[in-house]
């Protein structure tokens, strides 16, 4: 019976989620306000530096999300920690990760166009991120394949780990392939220190924090949705069974 692990969320969870939602909303609004209006334009990049308050946080959240998804998949496969929760968490985190990877690519591309003059360069980080995007789109496609709960969960978990093993190999080989790698400007402390304005660093930090909050909020909601969908599936089955039984008796 799945009934015990199910829905009708306790008040506390609902309240916590709402607080989290408000906090992330406030954080994002503050980041945008600081990023667009308060911080000065950069000496070299001009206003384009404002994109860097959102782009690195997107990338960070994407990698965090895949890390969480892989860890949850591993915990699901480990017999002692096997639980439906980890499967749902992996699925939720994977999906949110794909959204953030897409945004990483888009925001990076929008920054790259005026900076490099092209929408795309075959830089190792970019290429790896793009491959990660398709890799995890494949994972989501695999998750969407219907099947009995534990079969699907195990299949997806193994799929996630196969994809995860690939990430370092992809990154290293791509980096080797194109050694013209430009260090991501913001993360490079030597170029950074010289011209960064105090408010810029704080804005970036706030960006990291608030988009991480957004991530947790989204994952929590995606998780609850998965829970409800699973409940609905079992319920559908139970109702159908009950109807059959009732028919048999009524005859």
């Amino acid at each position: 019976m799945r009934a015990s692990t199910r829905t009708v969320p306790s008040e506390r969870v609902a309240v916590a989620l709402r607080v989290l939602g408000v906090a992330s909303l406030v954080g994002v609004v503050a980041t945008v306000w600081l990023g667009l209006f308060v911080t000065p334009p950069d000496e070299f990049m001009g206003n384009l530096v404002r994109l860097l308050y959102v782009h690195p946080p997107m990338a960070w959240v994407a990698f965090l999300a895949y890390g969480v998804a892989s860890l949850a998949s591993l915990l699901y496969l480990w017999p002692r920690t096997r639980s439906e929760r980890f499967d749902r968490l992996a699925g939720a985190s994977g999906e949110v990760g794909v959204v953030f990877t897409g945004l990483t690519l888009v925001s990076g591309s929008i920054w790259g166009r005026p900076t490099w003059g092209v929408w795309w360069v075959w830089d190792p980080l970019l290429t790896t991120t793009a491959l990660l995007f398709v890799l995890y789109l494949g994972y989501l496609a695999l998750r969407r394949v219907p099947g009995e709960f534990h079969v699907r969960a195990r299949r997806s978990a193994i799929g996630a780990l196969i994809a995860f093993i690939d990430v370092p190999i992809v990154y290293l080989s791509v980096e080797w392939w194109r050694s013209l790698h430009q260090a991501p400007t913001v993360l490079n402390p030597t170029t950074h220190k010289t011209y960064v304005h105090g408010s810029m660093a704080w804005t970036l930090l706030l960006g990291f924090v608030s988009f991480t909050l957004v991530y947790t909020w989204l994952v929590a909601h995606r998780y609850r949705l998965a829970e409800l969908q699973d409940a609905q599936d079992t319920e559908g089955l139970e109702i159908a069974l009950a109807e059959r039984r009732a028919e048999a008796v009524g005859r």
Partner: protein, 222 residues
């Protein structure tokens, strides 16, 4: 485990030799891909010859998908898959056997493709040792990932579309490393291919190991 692997590989290869699907369909498919690349890039050998390593490996990748699908298609008829599952063979052995059979077929195909690349694109095959080493290591990686994802997809109704989506991004390092190693060999500097061969070896070892561990549960589920 290895005995079971040889059994399964022998079975798969015997079926292939008798049915000739590989010979009659996958081989010609790869040839068609080579011809299409020629059309797409134009008749200029100065364009084609430098690209031949990459084109060769893309053709191999695409053929691997067909090979893996074929490898599981022979299990889907007459409940052969259930037979395999209930046979008492070690799942790791089944994995190695099926992957091994795919490796053998791919190596045959690659030989033919190499000749095709030399003839059609004017690539000069030099550095034979590196070329062969790349093929062997790369093919092991491809077959391992293919066989692993093949069993994931094989029980499903949407396998034809799911397998390429799962397979191709994962094997992108193989495409990259194998192409680079071939580039070096074809350019007459096979000594510089060493690092790329390492990448291929690491990839192959990692995914063969993953397959040995994960194949059992996946086969059960299907």
């Amino acid at each position: 485990m290895l005995r079971d692997a040889v059994l399964v590989a022998g079975k798969d290869l015997r079926i292939e030799i008798r049915s000739r699907v590989g010979l009659n369909q996958i081989g010609p498919f790869a040839l068609a891909v080579l011809l299409l690349f020629g059309l797409a890039l134009g008749p200029d050998r100065r364009v084609l010859a430098p690209a031949s390593a990459g084109l060769f490996w893309v053709a191999v990748l695409l053929s691997t998908i067909l090979g893996v699908q074929r490898s599981y298609a022979i299990e889907s008829v007459d409940g052969a898959r259930d037979g395999l599952r209930l046979s008492g063979l070690d799942p790791a052995g089944i994995f190695l056997g099926k992957a091994g059979a795919v490796v053998v077929q791919l190596l045959v195909l690659e030989t033919a493709l190499a000749v095709g690349v030399a003839l059609l694109y004017g690539a000069r095959l030099s550095g034979a040792l590196v070329l062969i080493g790349t093929c062997v290591l790369g093919t092991f990686g491809l077959a391992a990932v293919g066989t692993l994802y093949g069993v994931v997809a094989s029980g499903l109704r949407i396998r034809e579309t799911l397998l390429p989506l799962l397979f191709l991004p994962v094997v992108s390092p193989v495409l990259l490393a194998a192409t680079k190693a071939w580039d070096e060999a074809l350019a007459g500097t096979p000594g510089r291919a060493g690092g790329w061969l390492d990448v291929l070896a690491v990839f192959a070892v990692l995914y063969v190991a993953t397959g040995i561990v994960a194949f059992g549960p996946l086969l059960e589920d299907g």
